[in-house]
């Protein structure tokens, strides 16, 4: 986390005091969507910020039978189905889960986004998926392998194998030649709290494809993978959706209209 150019990494327990983007702030000087940089708390740790945001959702989850009950439910459902179909192997897609995935939603607060949570899987591997308008974080709740009980070498191999079991193949996701396995760059030692990425230098919002970068990590003993919803416009527009307004559809409001300008 960076506060006026002072950077510190915070993993858990972050709460309150954050300067979230409120709609009224964005109209400063009459310039829609633009505001000055006063008192904004930054971090270089994108994944950490998202993990902490999920923690802040706490117990504020509502069971839901169907996403279509949301204000913009049909579009949210389509978005989720589309990205899950892209990110995950068919047998890992929560929209194809049998038995059906248990669905819950978290409505955005001042410091959390709209989040969908799916619990599903088999007794051999229980999965939990957190999804926002920006990312999908797939966590292995219970698996047949405890990665942290393996040797360091086996940990790398096993993580790569699990990524291969859960995620779509890189070769089907990117144009041109790609490796069959996700090419994670691992730290020297993989421990609880470790993180890894296939393209840490890639900006998730500007990389060529979602498959240009997949992240992962181990937290509280649980392995997770993060896939970024890299949205591209054929119109050359840079798409940045308001993660607090996914469910009501307002996230898309600036990107549609009778006339573009």
């Amino acid at each position: 986390m960076r506060w006026l150019a002072v950077t510190t990494t915070v993993w858990v327990g972050m709460s309150g005091g954050l300067c979230g983007a409120s709609p009224d702030q964005s109209a400063i000087d009459g310039r829609t969507g633009v505001k000055s940089n006063g008192g904004i708390e930054e971090t270089d740790d994108l994944i950490g910020a998202w993990l902490n945001m999920i923690d802040r959702a706490g117990k504020a989850w509502l069971s839901q039978s169907d996403l279509t009950a949301l204000a913009d439910g049909a579009a949210v459902k389509q978005d989720s189905e589309s990205w899950c179909g892209i990110f995950f192997r068919p047998e890992v897609n929560p929209h194809r889960a049998n038995p059906a995935a248990t669905l819950a939603i978290h409505h955005a607060t001042v410091d959390t986004a709209d989040i969908i949570r799916y619990d599903y899987g088999s007794t051999a591997m229980r999965l939990r998926l957190y999804e926002t308008v920006d990312f999908a974080l797939l966590r292995i709740e219970e698996g047949r392998v405890d990665v942290l009980k393996l040797s360091q070498d086996r940990r790398r191999t096993t993580i790569t194998e699990l990524a291969g079991e859960l995620l779509s193949k890189p070769s089907t996701a990117t144009a041109g030649a790609s490796p069959e396995a996700w090419p994670f760059e691992f730290p020297n030692s993989i421990e609880d709290g470790s993180r890894f990425s296939t393209g840490a230098s890639q900006e998730p919002q500007a990389m060529p494809s979602w498959a240009s970068r997949v992240d992962g990590g181990i937290r509280a003993g649980q392995l997770y993978f993060v896939c970024f919803k890299r949205r591209r416009s054929g119109d050359g527009r840079v798409i940045l959706l308001d993660s607090h307004h996914w469910f009501d559809g307002l996230a898309w409001a600036p990107y549609q209209g009778p006339k573009r300008r």
């Binding site: 969507g33 986004a113 573009r260």
Partner: protein, 421 residues
């Protein structure tokens, strides 16, 4: 043949004919009984002046199907569709079955009364072939349109009732060729490049319908009319459009499968809007499909931050991405070049919204000595220098993450401001 002066009763269907021989003064008379035509029936019709470039795929938007076969019409079957340039002469080749097979020849005129409908009541056209030789068996003639051909882009449906008036054997109702479907176009249909390539029946029929309603021969007026069919622009995928079409882009991203329809599919979903580039891809494809004159190109317009903000133009079909790949590292931070919609200043944080762009996509249309850039919902401009003025500024920005997980863009440098000159 007989050697008596008294003609024998002519067998049914036959007529006597004086032939070379001796005279009535006792000489031998040679009489040949002419075998009359008893029936004439049109069997086949082949258009000779159509374009013959259209495939028979009428069920979906893909570039598939087979080149429509000739003849277009055969007795007992409905006619295949054809495309034909409006205001141009039309000719059809007809094959008649003439009975009996040994009927003697005669001269005849062929008349075709066409009753065609464009949806607003019957229209009457006349086709004819005069002084044709008919005899028993199969007779092939070429008839031409004798009335003024249609001078508008439209689809005509209908039948042609054929009659043959012989000099020796009287008139015949030769039946009708039925179910003709003719797409009158501005000129020979042309295939768009890229994802919209191909000339199919479904595409041509829809293009004729839409371009026809523009009620103009001016390509610029047609382009404006077509882009305004869309109910605005959007970057939001609509659940109402089948996923296979990749609304609103109408092209597949890596990892997705192309529908094969390209922007043609948008013709069924105007109310769902589309990206500007998809709108102008559809406009171009529909105009080319009806043979609209003019040079048409999908271009992207941007300004080069590394070359004095020079206004640039690239070919969208060739993959031009404008500022999409223009980045630089500054103090370990990646900066991205962009064109801002709104006024920005160094240090501004940009929320979600319509601010940064890699380019403006336009249909560049040159016709009638005039070039215009049509933005598919983003305005129309006479030059790329005018297009760039839709932006507020050329700048560099970087991505940042807020501690609560939100993403923002920070303006790092403003290279050039527009609209204040």
């Amino acid at each position: 043949m007989t050697d008596t002066d008294t003609p024998q009763p002519a067998p049914s269907g036959r007529a006597s004919t004086r032939v070379a021989g001796k005279s009535l003064s006792g000489s031998t008379v040679h009489v040949k009984y002419r075998t009359k035509i008893t029936s004439i029936r049109v069997l086949k019709l082949t258009f000779k002046t159509d374009h013959h470039v259209m495939t028979d795929n009428d069920k979906d938007w893909t570039n598939s199907g087979s080149l429509i076969a000739k003849p277009e019409w055969t007795l007992g079957k409905l006619s295949y569709a054809v495309s034909h340039t409006k205001s141009q002469p039309m000719a059809v080749e007809l094959e008649f079955g003439v009975e009996p097979g040994n009927a003697d020849k005669t001269i005849a005129d062929v008349i075709g009364n066409a009753v065609w409908d464009a949806g607003s009541g019957p229209l009457y056209y006349l086709l004819a072939a005069t002084n044709q030789t008919f005899k028993g068996g199969t007779v092939t003639v070429t008839a031409t349109l004798r009335t003024t051909p249609p001078d508008v882009v439209e689809r005509l449906l209908g039948d042609i009732a054929w009659s043959v008036k012989t000099r020796d054997d009287g008139p015949f109702d030769a039946g009708s060729s039925t179910g003709h479907e003719i797409y009158f176009t501005m000129d020979t249909p042309d295939s768009a490049p890229g994802l919209e390539a191909g000339i199919t029946q479904k595409r041509l029929r829809r293009s004729v319908k839409r371009v026809g309603r523009a009620n103009s021969d001016d390509p610029h007026a047609i382009a404006k009319y077509l882009q305004n069919l869309f109910h605005g622009y959007t970057l939001k995928p609509s659940p109402n459009v089948p996923k296979e079409f990749h609304h609103p882009r109408y092209f597949a991203e890596p990892g997705e499968v192309e529908s094969g329809a390209g922007a043609w599919a948008a013709a069924d979903y105007f109310e769902e809007a589309a990206e500007c580039q998809a709108i102008i891809r559809f406009v171009r494809a529909a105009m080319l499909q009806v043979g609209c004159p003019g040079e048409m190109e999908i271009v992207v317009v941007w300004a080069d931050p590394n070359n004095h903000a020079k206004v640039m133009e690239g070919d969208w079909d060739a993959g031009a991405a404008g500022l999409g790949n223009v980045t630089k590292m500054v103090n370990g931070k990646q900066w991205f070049a962009s064109l801002a919609d709104r006024e920005v200043e160094k240090g501004d944080l940009v929320d979600s919204g319509e601010v940064f762009n890699n380019f403006e996509a336009c249909l560049k249309l040159t016709a009638g000595g005039k070039t215009m850039y049509y933005g598919g919902g983003a305005g129309d401009y006479p030059s790329k220098e005018d297009v760039i003025q839709v932006f507020s500024s050329l700048c560099w920005y970087s991505w940042i993450t807020l501690a609560d997980g939100q993403r923002k863009m920070r303006v790092e440098q403003v290279v050039k401001t527009y609209g204040s000159d």
